[in-house]
């Protein structure tokens, strides 16, 4: 679950990381009122998920209430577009923050290092720009530290990193505490990534998190129901919402946009298991087609879930044929077959040509059910993919 900047900063404040003074606003009136009551220079930051909002015109500066209101009216409702986000993202709210006098900008993040099985801290004195760019042009400027979760964080780690990364002296006192708080957030809230870029040193000696990028592990969200709630309020990802709505795991469904130069994505896919799900969409590609989606019904799926998965995939109008690919382990073939028959017996689904491949646990029973309903299943994944691509082309 990716958080918006204002949500990330909410978590920052919970663990004691200093953030700029300011207010979160969803209307231009709120912005006017706030700036009127707090004279000074303010930054209006569009709250969107996409990167590059600055270049897209999503950040403005206001010196009085009137200007604040005008700019807020301009921003709220605007659709920001960037290279990474050609479709754009609508601005629904703003973060109004004090304009700080920047003496220096640093970068700090903590992520999971899968190979080391440890959290890894990255620090560089070159804050304010994309860290991948820094990694490319000046890799030695990025200092890393792997924290042992058994020992946890202790301030010497922050001191070592600050010295190694040559952070300006003004950071020295505050940095170990900021990093400690960031590690607390990372572990307690179960973050895949926490990033402060830039961590600003102001001219008056304060160290402040000017931006906040936080991505939480969906599996750990249950520990923080209030934070999990944020996701429901503004689901970052329509696919995730759709998956959860029918009882799948958040990341068990993903819809793929058409890509220039590739075949149109007209084949719906359903498989059991993430690996087979990926294999199935790859097989569609290998057969010269395009998978419209990835859908993993998980282990031990019941008929109802299969039925709803079918409905979800065919709700995408582009889907002209469906390939269901099941290799039973926990999942029982008879349950899947039942789900397919049920799905197609109702009037509430859009029916498309269907290819079923069913093997493994209870395959025999499943195949019997399908045979009774008049389906002729295919034997292999390759065969199924080829057949589905063919059917999709025929249906166009």
């Amino acid at each position: 679950m990716k958080l918006m900047e204002y949500q990330g900063k909410d978590l920052f404040r919970r663990v004691g990381i200093p953030t700029p003074r300011g207010v979160y606003a969803t209307t231009a009136d709120e912005v006017r009122t706030y700036v009127a009551e707090h004279p000074g220079s303010w930054v209006l930051k569009s709250q969107v998920m996409m990167g590059g909002r600055g270049k897209a015109g999503g950040i403005k500066f206001a010196d009085d209430a009137q200007q604040g209101e005008t700019l807020a009216r301009e921003l709220i409702g605007k659709v920001l577009k960037s290279v990474q986000n050609p479709d754009g993202e609508e601005v629904k709210s703003l973060l109004v923050e004090e304009k700080v006098d920047i003496a220096s900008e640093a970068y700090v993040s903590i992520a999971i290092d899968r190979a080391a099985k440890k959290p890894v801290v990255l620090v560089t004195a070159q804050g304010g720009m994309d860290v991948e760019e820094v990694a490319e042009h000046d890799p030695d400027a990025i200092k890393k530290y792997w924290i042992d979760p058994a020992e946890g964080y202790s301030p010497y780690i922050g001191r070592q990193l600050a010295f190694d990364a040559k952070l300006p002296e003004g950071y020295r006192k505050a940095f170990p505490a900021v990093l400690g708080a960031l590690y607390e957030l990372f572990m307690d809230y179960g973050a895949n990534l926490v990033e402060i870029n830039p961590l600003v040193l102001t001219n008056d000696g304060r160290v402040i998190a000017s931006d906040a990028k936080v991505e939480l592990d969906d599996n750990g969200l249950y520990k923080h129901p209030d934070v999990a709630q944020w996701n429901k309020q503004s689901p970052a990802d329509a696919d995730q919402a759709a998956a959860v709505a029918i009882g799948l795991g958040m990341s068990n469904y993903a819809r793929f946009e058409d890509e220039p130069g590739l075949p149109p994505k007209t084949v719906g896919t359903i498989a059991n298991g993430a690996g087979l799900g990926m294999g199935t969409m790859d097989a569609v590609k290998n057969a010269g087609g395009g998978a419209a989606n990835f859908l993993d019904i998980g282990g031990g799926a019941q008929a109802e879930l299969v039925k709803n998965s079918y409905k979800l995939v065919t709700s995408d109008d582009r889907v002209k044929a469906m390939f269901i690919n099941i290799f039973g382990g926990i999942t029982r073939g008879d349950q899947v077959a039942k789900g397919i028959v049920e799905a197609l017996s109702g009037d509430d689904v859009r029916k498309v040509p269907l290819v079923v491949r069913l093997t493994g646990t209870n395959a025999k029973e499943g195949l019997a059910i399908l045979a009774e309903a008049g389906f002729v299943p295919v034997e292999t994944m390759d065969e199924g993919a080829a057949r589905a691509v063919e059917l999709a082309k025929g249906a166009q």
Binding site: P119, K285, N286, F327
Partner: protein, 293 residues
């Protein structure tokens, strides 16, 4: 020989009376796994229908049975607790089937369970065909033999193994390492064990997009087992960037986890990468032919 698991390994089931635990206990017993008991708090002193004793705690189970292996079927929030309990009781290999354990629980568990090998979580388990199955794989598709197999996915493993078996390639041990970002045993950990297993004469490494476990595996193969024939596979090669596909770990973010990087690494290690699972037996036969030539 096989790795990690043999015919005599004494196995307990954590969550033996739960729905999944009970179901797979019977399947494992049917396969011939030496299941000596199980654990369900509050049901200590009873036995399941097939006669295996149930204990309240892993410690009680280990004390009474001498079990060294455990397979875990518990809800995600109890996953870390189950692993720590196994470790404290002296279990040396724990297979964690549970899907959805928070990554940060696993970070802590991995850092504090020295001396216990963890397979998974979110994995299909491990099988040494003809000897023992500690997992949820459909045993009948496997066949005893000399090909070692490691995979991040469950069902894809079945797909590949099914093909191997049909093509006449039996398996020494197949390990499903799991699809989560933080898992107990990586490709490299398995490769290290396979490297010194004389029974294993060839390997299949079935990776997927996300992370760099495949790149690490390729580097290990290049340095330590250049002479053992290995065939690779990467699932999710047609996936666009930034989409998380089922496995919490299967995502291309930025420049890491791309199939291009993985295929390149395998290539540099002399490992051919199959475009589709059905190509694997052929590539394996070719590699074996070259190796013995």
């Amino acid at each position: 020989m096989a790795i990690f698991l043999d015919k005599n390994s004494k196995v307990i089931v954590q969550g033996i009376t739960g729905r999944e635990g009970a179901f797979h206990t019977q399947r494992m017993l049917a396969y011939g796994t030496n299941i000596v008991g199980g654990v369900t708090p509050g049901k200590g002193g009873t036995t399941i229908e097939s006669g295996q004793p149930v204990f309240n705690t892993v410690k009680d189970a280990v004390d009474a049975t001498g079990a060294t292996h455990s397979i875990i079927f518990v809800p995600p929030f109890a996953g870390a607790d189950a692993l720590w309990e196994a470790h404290a009781a002296g279990i040396t290999l724990a297979v964690c089937i549970t899907e959805g354990i928070p990554a940060h629980d696993m970070l802590r568990v991995v850092a504090t369970t020295d001396g216990m090998r963890i397979i998974g979580g979110n994995c299909p388990g491990i099988i040494s065909p003809g000897k023992s199955l500690v997992g949820i794989m459909p045993g009948h598709i496997f066949k005893e033999g000399n090909v070692g197999m490691i995979s991040r996915s469950g069902t894809l493993t079945y797909e590949i193994v099914d093909g191997l078996t049909r093509a006449g390639f039996g398996q020494s041990t197949c390990v499903g390492i799991g699809g989560d970002p933080i898992i107990g045993t990586t490709f490299v950990d398995c490769l290290r064990a396979f490297a010194s297993d004389p029974e294993t004469q060839a390997l299949v490494v079935a990776g997927e997009i996300g992370g760099s476990d495949e790149e690490d595996a390729a580097a290990f193969i290049k340095e330590h087992i250049p002479d053992k024939p290995v065939v690779g596979f990467i699932g999710g090669r047609s996936a666009p960037k930034g989409k998380r596909l089922g496995h919490a770990g299967a995502i291309i973010s930025g420049n890491t986890g791309t199939p291009e990087s993985k295929v390149k690494a395998f290539g540099e290690a002399g490992v051919p990468v199959a475009d589709r699972p059905s190509d694997i037996p052929r590539l394996l036969a070719e590699r074996l032919a070259t190796a013995t030539a």
